[in-house]
Symmetry: C2
């Protein structure tokens, strides 16, 4: 049986955050890749404080701004307040991978498509408008007020579409995301993004475990799903 909807991880799976953030940082006179890598390295530990209930759910802009202050402090870099705000908003303007828009456009003809991202609605809308991601709806962390891989994020996204978990397929370049989605009953598709973390990437080069589909990019995913 075919799924009715496809849910997508966004950072890394749909868009190349590292190149985009490095470019935005460099445009402000900062060392691009070191800032991008150090910024992203603070991401999961920050989300963990929310997942463990140590702080209330807040939108990613707040976490990104806090982490940027820490990155600049740690790397000994100077940047004014207005530029820090501007650079934080760079997470709303990330380039899609070359196959992303064409693949989503094909997939949308047959399936409802939506992000199931840890990004909030405003960030997701701005990113979709910047990158041309043709979503049918914006689902994910904000409607659940939780962060993946907490099960409520997947389950709230599926419930919002009025379907059962088995009628949805989670698409991600990260094995951990797919393991969590599968535990909630969703089907899973792994799409490799082997340069997400740069040329030396060691993890998530292929699906670790059982997935329903493994595809080289979104066009291959559309082929595999008959779209």
């Amino acid at each position: 049986m075919s799924p009715k909807a496809l849910l997508f991880d966004v950072f890394g799976t749909c868009v190349d955050w590292r190149t985009s953030i490095a470019r935005a940082a460099a445009a402000l006179g900062l060392p691009g890749e070191p800032v991008a890598d150090a910024w992203r390295a603070r991401y999961q530990p920050q989300l963990d404080t929310v997942r463990r209930g140590e702080r209330e759910w807040v939108v990613l802009d707040v976490l990104h701004r806090e982490a940027l202050d820490d990155v600049l402090d740690t790397l000994g870099l100077e940047l004014g307040e207005a530029e820090r705000d501007e650079l934080t908003r760079a997470w709303h303007r990330l380039d899609p991978w070359p196959d992303t828009v064409a693949g989503l456009t094909r997939l949308k003809r047959r399936y409802a498509i939506a992000p199931c991202s840890n990004g909030h609605i405003a960030q997701s809308v701005n990113l979709a408008r910047y990158a041309g991601l043709p979503w049918d709806a914006i689902l994910g962390a904000e409607i659940a007020r939780a962060y993946k891989p907490q099960p409520e994020v997947y389950l709230a996204s599926v419930a919002a579409l009025g379907i059962e978990p088995a009628e949805a397929m989670m698409v991600a370049a990260h094995n951990g995301d797919l393991v969590a989605a599968a535990a909630c009953g969703l089907r899973t598709a792994f799409v490799a993004r082997p340069r997400e973390y740069g040329p030396g990437q060691q993890s998530d080069l292929r699906a670790d475990g059982d997935v329903d589909v493994e595809a080289a990019d979104f066009l291959a995913l559309a082929d595999a799903l008959g779209a």
Copy 2:
């Protein structure tokens, strides 16, 4: 100053529910327009029970199904359970007005666009896919778990976009919707849909009060908003 986002009423403003529901009812052997009108007449009284806190917020499918049972009973019409479920889903397949898709497509180039409807997310996604409504996000009743004109529906929709109320414009064919939106600080645009309720429509033929824009259709709205 230009708004950043446009929020749209959907039933009546974007889509012609009466013609579409009458056709779906007639396809099941029922008298089309009497069923459509009787069904819609139960809508606001039903929403009132949620607005007054007499019942928990539920998705519109539940209310539509309850009202359909009452309509058929009142009109003395027979219909099986499966056909009642099918007819309830007709609210997910409503035809757009002739200018709707072309107008939204133009408006989307300049503004973020989203429904701020009493429809739930699943209904809004299915309707958008059926009618070709190119929304950037699905906002409205479900993210607020309230029903317009309760202020939290407008305010939650604006907050989800990360903007201030004055940066959003509510677009509707219903004066009451615009009065409520304006009370929340949103700008307002009235677009007349003089046949929404059929040839004898007496109300909402024009804007009653102060609105920021009054337009004959969505193409005229795009003209007025420079899109």
